[in-house]
């Protein structure tokens, strides 16, 4: 049974991640991302399941020494939170996008491509 505080923590992490207020970064373990606070670090990662097409999402809490002190997975949250899998998946994918700079890359590419697009013709322009 996951505590109410842990549930609240996961919800807050999701909200702050979506708002772009957390600075997620890559870690040495591929597919694992971290965001640090003054005394703790939160990590988000995946782990395999018996079904090769399905993963579990794992949110970890690390103390001042870097030691893992608690973690929660989406199956553990399911009993208390509707859409726990979608919530953790959203945290993971958004964290990944920020850590890898995907959003920034997409914005810059879209900006560059829009500059290369031909100017839009005026509707009443006579072509000949």
């Amino acid at each position: 049974m996951v505590s109410d505080k842990t549930v609240s923590l996961v919800q807050q992490v999701l909200a702050r991640t979506q708002e772009g207020k957390l600075e997620w970064e890559e870690t040495a373990q591929e597919g694992k991302y971290q965001v640090s606070f003054p005394k703790y670090t939160i990590t988000i990662s995946t782990r395999g399941t018996q079904d090769p097409d399905v993963v579990d999402y794992v949110l970890g809490i690390h103390n001042q020494d870097g030691t893992l002190i608690d973690r929660v997975t989406d199956p553990e949250l399911q009993d208390q939170v509707d859409g726990a899998y979608a919530m953790m998946s959203e945290i993971f994918n958004t964290a990944r996008g920020q850590a890898l700079g995907i959003e920034q890359a997409l914005d810059e590419l879209l900006n560059s491509l829009s500059k290369l697009a031909p100017p839009a013709q005026e509707e009443d322009e006579i072509p000949f």
Binding site: A28, Q29, S36, T41, Q64, G66
Partner: protein, 173 residues
């Protein structure tokens, strides 16, 4: 007539005495005021001296933190060299020593901002993960990606250099 003369004499002496008493009172009060002002100025000077000593203590503390941070940054550069040399067997000790150094800096310098503490915490966590990766690779004989590891270490170096400059800019001010 003699009585009157005596009365005038007594009155005059009494008046002189009264005037002297009042003057004496005024001088005493003035003396007290000067003494109190002197004490206040001494107190203020002592307070200023205490504040100056505290500023010097803080500056020295900051110098120490800068020195320790510079050492930590050097350690990270050394770790990158050892990664390139694939000296995996000796690296876990280096990671552990570096983490302890960063923990010590964070503990010893309580004036760090939350953002600065988070930077140190991020580096501590990062090297904990790197250490686990290397230990696992050593145990399972799994190859490690040097370029990736060094890219992560470089990011931590950059963060600590920024932190060092922030602390340096606050010295003396």
């Amino acid at each position: 007539m003699e009585f009157l003369d005596s009365l005038i004499e007594v009155t005059t002496i009494s008046t002189i005495g009264n005037i002297a008493s009042v003057l004496g009172l005024v001088i005493t009060v003035a003396g007290f005021w000067i003494a109190i002002r002197g004490i206040q100025k001494t107190k203020q000077a002592a307070q200023h001296a205490r504040e100056a000593v505290e500023e010097v203590r803080k500056d020295m503390h900051q110098f120490t933190s800068i020195s320790e941070l510079a050492t930590a940054i050097s350690s990270m550069e050394e770790i990158k060299r050892l990664h390139r040399q694939e000296a995996w067997n000796i690296l876990p000790d280096r990671y552990s020593a570096l983490r302890k150094s960063l923990i010590s800096i964070r503990t010893a310098y309580p004036d760090l901002t939350d953002s600065q503490k988070a930077t140190l915490q991020g580096a501590i966590s990062q090297f904990t993960t790197i250490e686990k990766q290397v230990e696992t690779a050593l145990a399972t004989d799994k190859p490690l990606k040097v370029a990736r590891l060094n890219s992560l270490v470089t990011k931590e170096v950059d963060s600590l250099v920024e932190l060092l400059e922030e602390i340096r800019s606050h010295i003396g001010g």
